[in-house]
Symmetry: C2
Subunit: 147 residues, 2 copies
Amino acid sequence: MSKRDSPMVAHLLDALEEKGYRDTAPRRAIVQAIAQTEKHFTAEDLRAQLPEVGRATIYRSLKLLLDAGVVCRVLLEDGNLHYQLSHRGHHHHLLCVECGVSEDLTGCDIEDQLKNVAAAHQFQVSGHWLEIYGRCLNCALPAAASL
Amino acid sequence: MSKRDSPMVAHLLDALEEKGYRDTAPRRAIVQAIAQTEKHFTAEDLRAQLPEVGRATIYRSLKLLLDAGVVCRVLLEDGNLHYQLSHRGHHHHLLCVECGVSEDLTGCDIEDQLKNVAAAHQFQVSGHWLEIYGRCLNCALPAAASL
DNA sequence: GTTTATGCAAAACATTTGCATAGTC
DNA sequence: GACTATGCAAATGTTTTGCATAAAC
């Protein structure tokens, strides 16, 4: 059970508890850091933010959060994989290439379309991974103004 | 100019030449290894196949081939990035999760659809990355038969 | 002959693991 | 008290870099 934390922090801790993982100080620190950002991040970003937490604990905790489904990986345009807060289940991401803000896109209805395309290649589709890159409102406006 | 090589090998060497890169023995070896597989591969796969070529040369050559647009990166379902032969320009991949065969999918027409979805989030789309996972004909048949 | 590429070894990262200690339940 | 988590350091794996030598043009 989580104490008086922000709703998001409580949600993340609950997800860990549900999986039988213990409520510890380092995990709280990690979860708080994650809850505070709307951007994607790397293990090393977290490490820089939380120098008091050991490297191994950061990597191990990220795996637990992934496993619990409350954090997911996102693929950046340059091929780097980062982490971010996530809805459970299948979804996609809108990633701002300027500021790094990322947003979950639930409700994915391209699967049918993919199945049709793949059928032409005699492929039986079992899944897909889609990332969408662009500019968020804040970043798109200044760019348009300076044209 | 490339000698009597397979058409694909010649195509790859030509792509390098077009960019002003020299025709060397290690590059030929790398290009031949790549031309011979329809699967995705890693730098270390190539290294195992070509022990006579130095590690650095493999990594450097892969970058050149990427830059020349004849090789691209694919994202595996587990988050690993591999390389594969590629059409130039924007395209997607059908990846067989059983045998690793991968096929290019040219003609991508989901951009409009993505723009609509993203507009609802006030995002201005500039690009996307889509990978499709499933089973190729050879792998789908045995699986269906054993049900 | 000038320029570019190679190979090696070392460096730079990123991630994982073993193990003794400390914290949680 | 039993079990799990942590921190550290070391091991592992991957990719990059410096530099002297060799090959291409």
